[in-house]
């Protein structure tokens, strides 16, 4: 059995590491356990080995806790003897607290479990915020790295890529930066004496690695001399690609490989773990020839710069503002709408919506903690009632109020101290589950994802949260309990209803607050969850079931359009022959693929003042039968067919949204549009109108789209879509073989079912929905427990009163109604407050999810009904208990 397959359970290993933190034996402990675990795994299998490891972990936890307790005890004895007063007092309190809690194990367990759930949710949410938003990049001096982008006032997105000529001007003119580099996306086909594969890479400026302050693992990285146009082609391989394709051989340096069929020399290997940007597997120099260096109207570069020592982000922003204004004056057409923007790299790289979404989850987790806290306050208040007698005795024999408060506070701190490790384990398990669901092609774009988990920062937050919660939770009941009316409590044994009145009021208030918090969280959770469901399973405008997609991009050697057309036609033919395929077609960029293409178009009869005023429209190249294969309805006119030949009349099909936007209340069929920049581009006649398609839930829902026939505009990017009556996944090997037959040198970039692709593309939303759903479910359970425990406790305290009522002739029905009525009033107040908060929370979720979901009355009404029903159910049991009180027994108890 290999060492890799018998790795110890990660969570257990973390626990051991955390417990032995600071000990000189930490490495030995972990090493011994790992070695022995491997032995057990080899002899008795992995499952037994994992169980063994967990057993060892538990033993270590127990002995550590016992050791700490023993130390504390000895220290306590010692300080008692030496009379070290504050320490002695605290230890006495601590011991007393432990004894008290052990006497009420169920109560202690309930508090610990509730606290652990709330703290665990917060720890997990904080881990996400911390790793994905606050510090996703582990680079040296990352706070000195900035991202420079262009932004346009007309664009809804806060940043845009940079035009090559603007980048070069910035770099020449700005002196607030040590280095400024650019990179551009450059996935290519890697071939050699192995199976050709599609690899993710980037073209980067020569000083890219110097800017990131990265050292090579072997060979050399790129330098300033490499990105000169016309220099030999060199490539730096990423550690993963090097190991995967070349088996980690060091003699690969100096060897030639082929990227998109052009020869490159491998000059070095990047260090393991360096995959910037976006999971890069290789880096080639960004060499710009003279025409490229002059391009100012196509924006496709990402620019990163390191601040000069002493220069601040504000300095850099100010200077870039001046440079941007100057360039706008110089190039009024291309730079009319665009100005530079400077952000920290961390802020610049994360998804625009990520901070809001994670903040929403964190707020949800805090609300869960608050609701849990409300339950705990309730429990402690109830206990305060029960312990009135004990407290009264302590006060009566001369204990100070402060001593009583301190004692109760120490008790809640002890509970919190036990809850923290449980919370951390829960958080780790949750995060592991989350990490398991994310497909690698998405994780690639989420920097920091790999680091999700429990670390020092998360532990610190959980501890802080626990202490704050313990003090706040303990203080309420402590203040209440330390103020009893001594004489009546001592006389009545704490049973009177009058002295408990204010405490009961407090407990009712807490339940109202709980409901008022639960409702908005449930609404937010339901909204997010319904969104996640809708994206993956709701109508998309096409039918993903039974469709398999295979995407590839032809290399630059296919520069003759006729070659691309022949290739595509041959590939569609071969694909259609695959057993099980009922129909096959192609599109350049299929729905759910992360790429899009758009073009400025000119509408016949609507001239515009400058080319910049032309509307920009989604642009798709499709073959005959595409709409048929995808089950996209043709609403008017026809779809493309064999009559649309390369030399035939130029034609187009438009989407419903396009037709509605430019020809409202008219028939778009027969109208003419022109695509592209050339003045002599041909007019295309619209021959059909098709249904709208959701290309991407975030940014391209029902976007106006124009389709042109592949025969007339063959594309480099080809996505074959093949429909089957059977299992779409079964087509995968056949389609791969069809591509091999067509051209063995072209690897597929994507080969999967459309349903899977849709699932992966919307996994982020589903993840948000699931996470919020889990938080909502916890909140609902906690709120239910809260109401139940309040009412049950209330009934138990009112046994005598109920007994008197029944003795005086009240019927069981009346008692039940009375009890439920009480709960109903509390629920009503809580719900009214909650509704106001729910609308606000719903609006927050709407904006965090880019308006992909909308808050509706049915949803709010439905959730409210669920909460009311739950509250009712939680009341019925105590109400029935109340009605079963035997008047005689209840009165005798007095």
């Amino acid at each position: 059995m290999s060492a890799r397959s018998s790795r110890p359970p990660a969570v257990a290993e973390r626990i051991v590491a955390a417990l032995s933190h600071g000990s000189p034996w930490k490495e030995t402990t972990l090493g011994d356990l790992s070695e022995e675990h491997a032995g057990v795994a080899a002899r008795r299998g992995r499952v037994i080995a994992a169980v063994w490891y967990w057993g060892q972990t538990i033993a270590i936890v127990v002995s550590t806790v016992a050791g700490v307790a023993a130390d504390a005890w000895r220290a306590g004895i010692k300080t008692l003897r030496t009379g070290d007063s504050p320490m002695r007092v605290l230890l006495t309190e601590f011991r007393f607290a432990v004894r008290t809690l052990v006497r009420q194990p169920l109560m202690a367990l309930a508090v610990i479990a509730t606290m652990a759930l709330g703290l665990g949710a917060n720890a997990a949410a904080f881990s996400m915020l911390n790793e994905l938003v606050f510090r996703p990049f582990p680079f040296p001096g990352v706070d000195r790295l900035t991202m420079l982008s262009e932004h346009s006032a007309r664009d809804p997105f806060p940043r845009e890529s940079v035009a090559p000529a603007n980048f070069l001007d910035w770099r020449r003119q700005a002196d607030r930066f040590d280095r400024m580099v650019a990179y551009g996306f450059s996935d290519m086909n890697l071939s050699g004496p192995f199976e050709a594969t599609r690899v993710h890479g980037f073209q980067v400026s020569g000083e890219f690695f110097d800017t990131m302050q990265v050292q090579p693992a072997s060979g050399r990285l790129l330098d300033a001399g490499d990105d000169v146009d016309g220099k030999g082609r060199v490539v730096v391989l990423g550690d993963a690609l090097w190991k995967r394709t070349f088996g980690g051989r060091s003699d690969v340096i100096g060897q030639a490989v082929r990227l998109d069929d052009a020869p490159y020399t491998v000059v070095g290997i990047a260090p393991s773990g360096f995959e910037f940007p976006q999971g890069a597997e290789f880096w080639v120099p960004l060499a710009m020839d003279a025409p490229t260096a002059a391009v100012r109207n196509e924006r496709y570069l990402t620019v990163i710069a390191r601040l000069r020592p002493g220069a601040s982000l504000d300095d850099a922003t100010a200077q870039m503002g001046v440079i941007g204004a100057r360039l706008r004056q110089q190039y009024p057409v291309d730079n009319r709408d665009h100005l530079p923007r400077v952000q920290t790299l961390t802020l610049g790289m994360i998804d625009p919506g990520m901070p809001q979404i994670l903040a929403m989850i964190q707020v949800g987790a805090v609300v869960v903690l608050l609701i849990g806290g409300a339950n705990i306050v309730n429990l402690l208040l109830a206990r305060g009632c029960d312990r009135q007698r004990e407290i009264a005795v302590r006060l009566a024999i001369g204990g100070s109020r402060w001593q009583v408060i301190r004692q109760l506070l120490v008790e809640s701190l002890v509970l919190a101290a036990v809850a923290v490790p449980v919370a951390l384990v829960l958080a780790q398990v949750g995060l592991d589950a989350l990490k398991g669901t994310m497909p690698p092609q998405i994780v690639r774009f989420v920097p920091g994802w790999e680091n999700l988990g429990i670390n020092l920062a998360v532990t610190g937050i959980a501890l802080t949260g626990a202490v704050v919660a313990a003090v706040m939770l303990g203080l309420f009941p402590a203040l209440q309990a330390s103020r009893p009316d001594l004489t009546s409590v001592l006389r009545d044994g704490g049973r009177t209803s009058t002295t408990g009145a204010s405490r009961q009021r407090m407990r009712r208030l807490v339940v109202v607050a709980e409901l008022a918090l639960a409702l908005p969280l449930l609404v937010a959770a339901a909204l997010a969850a319904s969104g996640g469901y809708k994206f993956a399973s709701g109508p998309q405008g096409y039918d993903p079931a039974g469709v398999t997609m295979m995407q590839l991009t032809l290399p630059g050697t296919f520069d003759v359009p006729e070659r691309r057309r022949l290739f595509a036609e041959r590939l569609i033919e071969e694909s259609a022959r695959v057993p099980g395929v009922t129909a096959a077609a192609m599109i350049n960029m299929a729905p759910t693929s992360q790429a899009s293409a758009s073009r400025a178009v000119e509408i016949d009869g609507r001239p515009v003042a400058t080319p910049n005023d032309r509307p920009v429209i989604n642009y798709r190249i499709v073959s005959a039968r595409y709409f048929d294969v995808m089950s996209i309805p043709v609403l008017r006119g026809r779809e493309f067919g064999s009559q649309d030949r390369a030399d035939g009349d130029p034609v187009a099909v438009v989407s419903q949204a396009m037709a509605d936007r430019f020809w409202p209340n008219q028939d778009a069929v027969g109208k003419r549009i022109r695509v592209g920049d050339e003045r002599d581009a041909p007019w295309l006649t619209i021959v059909g109108v098709t249904g709208n398609v959701i290309d991407d839930w975030f940014i391209r829902r029902n976007a106006p789209t124009i389709y042109v026939p592949m025969t007339q505009r063959p594309s480099y990017t080809i996505t074959v879509v093949a429909r089957t009556d059977g299992d779409a996944a079964a087509l995968v090997p056949g389609l791969r073989a069809a591509l091999q037959t067509t051209d063995p040198k072209q690897p597929p970039t994507v080969l999967t079912t459309l349903s899977k692709s849709l699932h992966d593309r919307t996994i982020g939303l589903q993840m948000i929905g699931t996470t919020m759903g889990i938080l909502g479910a916890i909140a609902l359970v906690l709120a239910t427990i809260g109401i139940y425990s309040l009412m049950a406790y209330d009934v138990s305290r009112r046994r005598q009163e109920i007994g008197v009522r029944m003795a005086l002739g009240a019927t069981r029905g009346e008692i039940v109604r009375n009890t439920i009525g009480q709960a109903g009033r509390l629920t009503g107040v809580g719900i009214v407050i909650g509704l106001v908060l729910a609308v606000a929370a719903g609006r927050g979720v709407e904006s965090a999810l880019f308006g992909t979901v909308a808050l509706g009355v049915p949803l709010v009404a439905g959730i409210t009904a669920v909460l009311v029903l739950t509250a009712l159910v939680a009341t019925i049991v105590p109400a029935r208990l109340a009605s079963k009180v035997d008047p005689a027994t209840a009165l005798q108890a007095r």
Partner: protein, 114 residues
């Protein structure tokens, strides 16, 4: 000085067992086989923590020394810590053994009875 070395020479029973186990393991005396030897030959299942503490104490008394080996994949990239008994350690062991032998003398009839 004399007092100190006298103190260093005093060995508890468990310490003697650990020192003997280190000698038994020879060049391979690191924590994992030490526990195995103590269990198999010494008949005592001891906890990891007890062994570590004892090794710490013996090292601080100068009776054993340790050095780190190479990092190993099977240990998750961590190194083994190898122990050896110092001349002082051997002296202490011999003294303890001699004391036991002296005390046991003439008690064969009692001690050998099963």
């Amino acid at each position: 000085m004399q007092a100190m070395s006298d103190q260093a020479l005093y060995l508890g029973e468990f310490e003697q067992m650990v020192l003997l186990a280190i000698l038994q393991c020879g060049d391979a005396a690191y924590t994992v086989p030490l526990r195995d030897v103590l269990a198999e030959r010494g008949g005592r299942e001891i906890s990891r923590g007890a062994l570590y503490t004892s090794l710490d104490r013996l090292e601080s008394k100068g009776l054993v020394t340790s050095k780190l080996g190479e990092p190993l994949a099977v240990r998750g990239g961590r190194a083994r810590r190898y122990f050896s008994v110092t001349p002082d350690g051997l002296t202490a062991l011999r003294a303890a053994r001699a004391a036991l032998a002296n005390l046991s003398r003439d008690l064969e009839s009692v001690l050998d009875r099963s």
